[in-house]
């Protein structure tokens, strides 16, 4: 050969036809696999949506191609990136090779991979192969060393890794033999590994026979491994990496899906929610096939870590198994899922945040809970109480509604706060919420905030009446009552004139901000941490004191679900200064207080209490004050706090230090 390039089908010209026949068969298997997946996800008549295409492509690039959520874990991220990058290089290389041989040479009698291009190609293929081999060795090491106790290893996991390793190793052996055969003299260091292998060989007559055998196995394994992608865990790259990122929910992740026609469903005698696979959405079903079993969700799930039955990964896999059974109309609970699994979820969203495939575990959990609540079966007795209490007393605890009135009058009398009148326009209305209105331990939050707001001269009023915002029962799955509360409160808001609603409870904040719009009510809401941090940044509020060690617990519905991490920290730091210290798990990785998902009102008595685990973490920082920005968290953590640690809302802590 005059210029450097590839000798195609060296030693195996007679087997060339096998490649095309296998490819044809593989294509049929692969396409059938995709079709089968399509049928698993979409009911007849259902079509995937193609709206917001730019945003969707953005998600695909960010989370699918660039794997933003895969790479942040050092070991696993490195491992995956090496395999991913290695195989991308090898795939492109192989395609180029095929392109040169089957198109350029055959049709145009010209070549691409020659001279410099060829040298670069060869070197990159070496690098790709090496990266992938190291990645796979790390993966195997992780599997055998049990670094993550929740990462379960099946025969499939090992078989796939070994297959890939076989492909890579045989790839290098074939490369080495080729180098030995025709390019040992001129390839130089552009094929370091091939050259090394070639050096080991001599003029053995069996080398060619060996090449033929290895080539055959390599070629067939490679083609059929690709063919079977839709049937193995490798499908994660298509179902999860490409499709699930592309079709990811395009609205707030903490706004669980609405059931607009819920009244009709109930009227026609149906039960709303996801009782069977066919009652779930195609997106939920796609989620189940997207899971790659990396166990990041489970490793971060407060239910799992406190010894409950729920493991988000196993739940998703159980649902996948339900799909495997083919019985889309069978009730999921208890046949495929133990109801306690579903009731153990605190809806903290750690799983959703962690999932590299953008699976929304909590959406499915709540969807299935809705069905259970609708049926009234497989529900813990206490989980029905909040709904019943709301119907009877207007609050989930069943407190006497008069108690709120008494408190409202106290606030008006002691602090001179106005009770809103329909004829006057206000800048802000402060939503008290059930946990602040009724729990005497939480009432200080409203008192402190109102004191500060009035000092700042903020024009704020209180509503004479409030219905429950509906958050706890929505998490528990009582969507019908939720919808009714939305219209009740929506009607209430429409009667008063104000610019923004201040909410002290992140549960209320989230539900007004993200979930009320699902049923047509838009309210401009702001959490009190945001008003306070703004005032501090502008120098309107100055606190003095501090000196003690303070830590901050991120409420899930403020932080992880809504991205408000800095505002409460600005408030705490303005008082505590250097005394501020973070818990090991903070911000996006924060650990739930145990009170979300309706769990303030009922308890799954199994394992440890989540609140205990979180308080232990706070205690370990040496903090004397644990600040939070949520009445739910305040209740849960106070109940675990030792005597010498105070649990306070950020505004109570602040008010303490700016005096009267």
């Amino acid at each position: 050969m005059s210029v450097a390039g590839i000798e195609h089908f060296l030693f195996v010209e007679d087997l060339e036809f096998l490649v095309y026949q296998s490819l044809l068969l593989a294509a049929i298997i692969f396409i059938y696999g995709l079709y089968r997946a399509y049928r698993r996800w979409f009911k007849p008549g259902e079509r995937p949506p193609l709206n917001n295409i730019i945003e969707r492509i953005g998600n695909l690039v960010r989370y699918g191609l660039l794997q933003r959520k895969v790479i942040y874990k050092p070991l696993e991220g490195t491992m995956h990136t090496m395999i991913y990058l290695g195989f991308i290089i090898l795939l492109i290389g192989t395609l180029l090779r095929a392109f040169e041989y089957d198109i350029l040479i055959r049709l145009f009698n010209t070549r691409l991979l020659v001279s410099t291009t060829y040298y670069i190609f060869k070197l990159l293929m070496n690098v790709g192969g090496a990266l992938a081999i190291i990645g796979i060795i790390i993966a195997l090491g992780k599997r055998v060393s049990y670094i993550s106790p929740y990462l379960k290893t099946t025969t499939e996991d090992v078989a796939i890794l070994l297959s890939l390793l076989y492909l890579l190793v045989t790839g290098f052996i074939l490369d080495g033999i080729s180098t030995w055969a025709y390019r040992r003299e001129w390839i130089g260091l552009y094929d370091p590994i091939g050259l090394m292998i070639a050096g080991l060989l001599d003029t053995y007559p069996w080398v060619i026979a060996l090449y033929r055998v290895i080539w055959l196995s390599h070629m067939l394994l490679a083609i059929f491994l690709v063919a079977y992608i839709p049937y193995t865990k490798l499908f994660h790259m298509i179902a999860g990496g490409i499709l699930n990122t592309f079709f990811a929910r395009d609205y707030a992740p903490s706004a669980f899906k609405a059931i607009e026609n819920i009244d009709e469903i109930v009227e026609q005698g149906g039960v709303p929610g996801g009782g069977s696979l066919s009652m779930l959405t195609w997106k939920e079903r796609m989620d189940y096939d997207s899971c790659i079993k990396c166990a990041r969700c489970t490793e971060n799930c407060p239910a799992t870590l406190s010894g409950k039955l729920l493991s988000p990964m196993d739940l998703i896999l159980d649902l996948r198994r339900a799909m495997d059974s083919g019985d889309y109309d069978a009730e999921l609970v208890p046949r495929f899922i133990d109801p306690e699994v579903l009731w153990s979820c605190v809806t903290c969203g750690a799983c959703v945040y962690q999932c590299p495939m953008l699976i929304h575990h909590v959406e499915s959990i709540i969807d299935i809970r809705r069905y259970l609540i609708g049926k009234g079966e497989n529900v813990p007795d206490e989980a029905l109480e909040p709904s019943y209490n709301i119907m009877r007393y207007g609050n989930p605890m069943g407190n006497d509604p008069m108690d709120r009135e008494v408190f409202l009058n106290e606030l008006a009398k002691d602090l001179g706060v106005e009770v809103a009148s329909e004829d006057i326009e206000y800048d802000y209305v402060l939503w008290l919420g059930c946990q602040v209105s009724y729990d005497p331990n939480n009432r200080g939050i409203a008192r402190s905030l109102l004191k500060i707001l009035r000092r700042m001269g903020v024009n704020v009023a209180l509503l004479p009446e409030e219905a429950c915002c509906g958050e706890p029962i929505r998490r528990l799955g009582d969507e019908l009552l939720f919808k009714e509360l939305v219209s009740q409160n929506g009607e209430l808001f429409s009667r008063y004139r104000f610019k923004k609603l201040i909410v002290m409870c992140p549960h209320g904040y989230n539900v007004f901000k993200n979930e009320y719009p699902l049923y047509g009510y838009r309210i401009d809401v702001i959490h009190h941490s945001q008003i306070l941090s703004e005032a501090i940044e502008k120098g309107l509020l100055k606190a003095s004191g501090g000196g003690e060690k303070v830590t901050f617990h991120d409420p899930c519905y403020l932080g992880r679900w809504n991205g408000v991490y800095e505002d409460p920290r600005i408030v705490v730091r303005s008082v505590a200064g250097d005394g501020f210290t973070e818990m090991p798990r903070n911000r996006e990785r924060s650990f739930c207080c145990g009170g979300g998902g309706g769990h303030l009102y009922f308890e799954v008595k199994r394992g440890d209490r989540i609140s205990r685990l979180r308080m232990d973490e706070a205690i370990a920082t040496g903090a004397e004050v644990v600040c939070t920005a949520c009445p739910y968290c305040r209740i849960m953590l106070s109940s675990e706090a030792p005597q010498d640690i105070r649990v306070l809302d950020i505004v109570e802590y602040l008010a303490d230090k700016i005096g009267d």
């Binding site: 407190n399 108690d403 729990d439 005497p440 331990n441 008595k605 030792p642 005597q643």
Partner: protein, 306 residues
Amino acid sequence: MKALAIGFKPSDLGEALAVLNRLAEALGEELEANALIISKEPFKHGGFHKIYHVKTASLYNSIGSIYKVMDDLTVDTVVSPNIKDGVDLLGRVATKIDGFMVTEVSSIEKIDGDVYLARPILGGRATAYYRYTPGTLFTYTVGKFQPIDEAGEPDVIEVTTEPGSYTVVGVEEKKRGAVDIESAEVVVGVGRGFRSKDDIKMASELAELLGGEVGCSRPIAADFGWLDEDRWIGISGKKIRPKLYIPIGISGAPQHIMAANDSKVIVAVNKDKNAPIFNYSDYGVVADLYQFLPVFIKVLRERLVK
């Protein structure tokens, strides 16, 4: 005034006598008290004109015989302790004679010349007053009237058992740990604030230290089964009247409060400052029981031993 008192056990008669005396005094009339004893063994008590005895322990085996006694005596009223069989029995008599009855009378008051039977309603949060007229039967709350011991040995007239249209098939002992919280001097109440069956040990330790018994709210016995039902304080469970009642982790459902409200001193321990139990307590400790109990036991032990 001629009256018949139903008695199921010896102590009933002294109390019934007190009730009837109070009624006669309020009415300003002479009392002729008679008694009907429904019990395997007869017992005597002074102050009664005649004592009838039906030899059975069962209400249903005695229903026929009480009507016979009623025919024998023409009485203005029949009274019974407010236990379930007493309420049932008087209810049947009332229908038979087409009269009225009042259950759970806790006091007899004379107001503006009229005599009233007062009874708690609305979970003990209010009192209803019924005007007494001859022919009104009533059950009285046990423990509210100071028993009268009177000398005398009235004759006991045996009455034959005549069941109504019912058959008593058998009797089953309640699952019990041989406790009597109804007469305990100190009761420590266990509520839902306790997180596991094991933690009840703390309450037992406290009860033992105070020479009392452990009682509980409904969920502990009925729902969780952590304690036997004979420790359950409630209108459907046991009514207690100790000198000292310490409800711990009990929020105070109306049924519970009503059954414990006769305690002399009530000390509530609850995490929730807003728990209704504090309205019905003399002393309240707002604290997590897991933090307070161990300290309380320790302090108590030091002070009691001193």
